[in-house]
Symmetry: C2
């Protein structure tokens, strides 16, 4: 099969053997924001058409390619959503020469107050993680620009909660008064952990972030440590907001981000366990069985 992770800013394609081994892999900057409407088939063809000669099997895609700004908008599958529900939500697009490619749907849910939340792309990583883990976890954490916490019940995605942690960190560093205090530098572990601990004290996030400035004014937080403290504050507030987290939480993300979340979770007595990074391929491989049900 061909597995494609087509996000906002990156295109990644994998040629996958029947046993799940990745035979070939390609990356480009053709994220969906860089692709003109109507030209998705052309881009896909240009990137992977030579794989077709080898009778590669079905092509499946995950990510923002299925959003309103993508190739077609694939409706979100509501929670609870397991592999069967997500598989039933696959939608085909025409890819020239009579071939179809399949786009995975996102997943949506509503909380007790009726407020919606969504993910698109991460659900395929979660399917890969559920396939990889010996027993399903209570929660999975996918840190990032928009961190996702995914609750699992009966082997299906039961709820998703998004936190704008990464984006607010970047914006605070670049555009608020804190930018003048924060110097780039390696992680200051003590400052990071102090930020995480601060997040579980009273006062609220909007007050705690001002503490970066006040500590700086009194010479109690060095510029090269301020970014680590702010990062700890924001990740700490994300963790505080998760209701009754279990003692172990699998983390799906880049090595650097996963490391930060493992550290932050440790401060709160949670053992974060990093997952493998090939979960999109693993999730799409599992979904490929559902293409037959559609055809």
């Amino acid at each position: 099969m061909i597995a494609i992770d087509w996000g906002t800013s990156t295109f990644r394609a994998y040629l996958v053997a029947g046993d799940g081994t990745v035979i070939d892999e390609r990356r480009s900057d053709d994220g969906i924001l860089a692709v003109e409407s109507g030209r998705f088939a052309e881009i896909l063809d240009a990137r992977v058409s030579d794989w077709l000669d080898a009778d590669a099997g079905p092509a499946l895609m995950a990510g923002m390619v299925g959003s309103r700004q993508g190739w077609i908008e694939v409706p979100y599958v509501p929670c609870p959503a397991g592999i069967a529900e997500i598989g039933a939500g696959l939608r085909p697009v025409e890819w020239g020469r009579g071939r179809q490619a399949w786009i995975a749907p996102g997943v949506s849910c509503r909380d007790d107050a009726g407020i919606p939340d969504v993910m698109r792309g991460e659900e395929v990583q979660v399917l890969g993680a559920l396939d990889a883990l010996a027993s399903p976890p209570e929660w999975l954490c996918l840190p990032g620009t928009h961190s996702k916490w995914v609750r699992i019940a009966n082997g299906r995605i039961d709820a998703v909660t998004t936190h704008m942690t990464g984006e607010w960190f970047a914006v605070a560093k670049a555009h608020t008064i804190l930018r003048r205090l924060i110097e780039d530098g390696p992680l200051d572990e003590l400052a990071f952990e102090a930020g995480v601990r601060r997040a579980s004290t009273p006062g609220g996030l909007l007050h705690h972030v001002f503490g970066v400035r006040a500590l700086g004014l009194f010479g109690e937080l060095a510029g090269r440590s301020a970014g680590s403290y702010l990062s700890g504050l924001l990740i700490g507030h994300e963790l505080v907001a998760v209701p009754a987290p279990p003692p172990r939480v699998p983390i799906i993300g880049s090595a650097a981000l996963t490391d930060l979340y493992v550290r932050a979770m440790a401060v709160r007595g949670i053992q974060g366990t990093p997952m493998a990074t090939d979960l999109v391929v693993r999730g799409l491989s599992r979904l490929s069985a559902f293409v037959r049900a559609h055809t």
Copy 2:
């Protein structure tokens, strides 16, 4: 006396009669960020030297003019700080022709965790408010880019808590993914109040702000209402963070901001009461009695 409110982006001067009446008033864009180091005396002289002919009495200044980026850095007075402590913290600057002007100090405090907080300029408004109110309140609220909540005990400033509410609203609107969803428009009262109520549900601020996007995706929050909802969310989180607020809270701020805070407080069962806007003059007038103690 001459009362001067010299902040980051604005210079305001008032010629005040012995009975507290404002006789004349001037404003300019000579905020401290626009004044080159060493040229503060020159600017002050250019703006108000003609008032000196009338034997105007002492000149007192409040605001960022006393910060590290200002004329001189006037040390913060630690809490508890009443008019006597703040008066004792006045510092003189030479203003040519043998005259002195006096800069009010800011106020600092530390919370139970030892984290500092500060204000500079607002403390003079608080002194004005304490002079204007028949009995001292438990808390005063000064909404703004950096909202201040000031706790009063025994007629003195007992604690200050800063929330970056206004700045985070501006930055979220301008620099996050939410900017694409938010259209300018008049206040949508229902959306604003829904945001305030949302702030008191579980999930945390970093999650609640993503709700602006998710509600927009499902067509449940119009673009012209999204800014009001976000504003309600942020102000609501500020209110949630205030420990045990009293039933009535005086609010010191512009009419537009005060109106928002009165609405938000009403959702939480608190009666916000707008204060007059001439409190800097009133506070500096009271402080002028302490100039004699220094000279």
